[in-house]
């Protein structure tokens, strides 16, 4: 938090998260998915674009175990992944 008492300079205003806070995963139920995601990140030089499938799976795990409010994945920004999946299904 900025402590400089300058009137007029922009100070940082923390904002609450849009969907609130994640409940803590006390029992490590989604730890396997997290490990998969972290491994993917390490393998791909920490590029998020290449590991979006793993992050989607982690969030799905949370939603299944009531550790996250159920939400359609499009609303979480995974629309392109959903479109890809439906396209792949169509082509099959």
């Amino acid at each position: 938090m900025s402590t400089a008492m300058n009137f007029g300079t922009k100070s940082f205003q923390p904002r609450p998260p849009e969907k609130g806070s994640f409940p803590l995963d006390h029992f490590g139920e989604c730890k396997a998915f997290k490990e998969k995601f972290m491994k993917c990140l390490r393998d791909n030089n920490f590029e998020n674009t290449l590991c979006r499938n793993e992050s989607k799976e982690y969030l799905e795990c949370r939603m299944e175990r009531q550790l996250m409010a159920q939400e359609s994945l499009e609303k979480l920004g995974f629309k392109d992944l959903m479109d890809e999946k439906s396209e792949a299904k169509k082509n099959l």
Binding site: Q13, P14, E18, K19, L24, C30, F37, M38, F78
Partner: protein, 256 residues
């Protein structure tokens, strides 16, 4: 004639025993000429020196002096009113400024109507890669091991990203912590949107417990269009954990 009799009581004892005991009052009687110049002053035995006395003895300039005195008083009243008005305005400025910032969205304050269906429709800006580095801090009184699980992650605006922090409670008692965050540079903070995280709510860790704490965020695609952000390639997200005590309120964002 009465004045003359009073003067005589100064030197010789007389029936008027007041004046002998109170010589200053006798003096007031002696200075009777002053009473004519000071019509507003209370005359009589208890009269003191008047507070203001015109300097000139000329009646015409005396009037002018009175006129000046009146004008000075008017000016002084106006100046005092202006000073009080300034102080009042400085107190009123705080809520007014807040209102102004909320309506115009300047200074990075939250703009009303930031809908979450923006996430659905936003298009990633693939040619602008931003490095997000992570920092974790803990307040001195909180004995948790709190650290990020990745030092950095490369994202593009418009794409949602997941990152993890890890916290461990090495003590033998359950501890409740609450965290806040900070984004550097400050101007990039308005584009940094957290969909879900672990901040601003109390998180309880049992003894010897270790948990993963995810942060799900994205950078607003408008970041790529802001000329002020053209040189910004690194954004640092910093979380700080405090111990949540009874009755201690962490300043939660929002105007309450």
């Amino acid at each position: 004639r009465s004045r003359g009799s009073r003067r005589r009581t100064l030197t010789s004892p007389g029936p008027d025993s007041h004046s002998r005991a109170r010589p200053d009052l006798a003096l007031a009687g002696a200075g009777s000429g002053a009473r004519a110049l000071c019509p507003g002053c209370h005359g009589g035995v208890w009269a003191r020196q008047p507070s203001w006395r015109p300097r000139s003895s000329n009646p015409f300039t005396r009037e002018q002096e009175q006129e000046w005195r009146r004008r000075n008083r008017t000016v002084l009243t106006y100046v005092a009113a202006a000073a009080v008005g300034m102080i009042g305005a400085s107190y009123a400025a705080v809520p007014l400024y807040r209102l102004y910032c909320q309506t115009t969205g300047l200074g990075g304050s939250p703009v009303a109507g930031h809908a979450s269906d923006q996430i659905e429709t936003m298009v990633p800006v693939k040619d602008r890669i931003i490095k997000v580095t992570f920092n974790a801090d803990v307040h001195a009184s909180l004995h948790w091991n709190f650290r990020p699980q990745q030092t950095e992650i490369y994202v593009v605006p418009g794409e949602t990203a997941l990152a993890f922090y890890k916290a461990k409670n090495p003590t033998d008692k359950p501890v409740i912590g609450i965290s806040t965050y900070n984004v550097v540079p400050f101007e990039a903070g308005q584009y940094f949107n957290k969909i879900q995280c672990f901040c601003f709510e109390e998180q309880r860790l049992n003894p010897q417990e270790e948990v993963d704490m995810p942060v799900f965020f994205f950078i607003d695609p408008e970041f790529a269009e802001d000329p002020k952000m053209a040189k910004v390639d690194v954004i640092t997200l910093s979380y700080t954990f405090f111990e949540a005590k009874e009755g201690h309120k962490l300043p939660v964002p929002g105007y309450n």
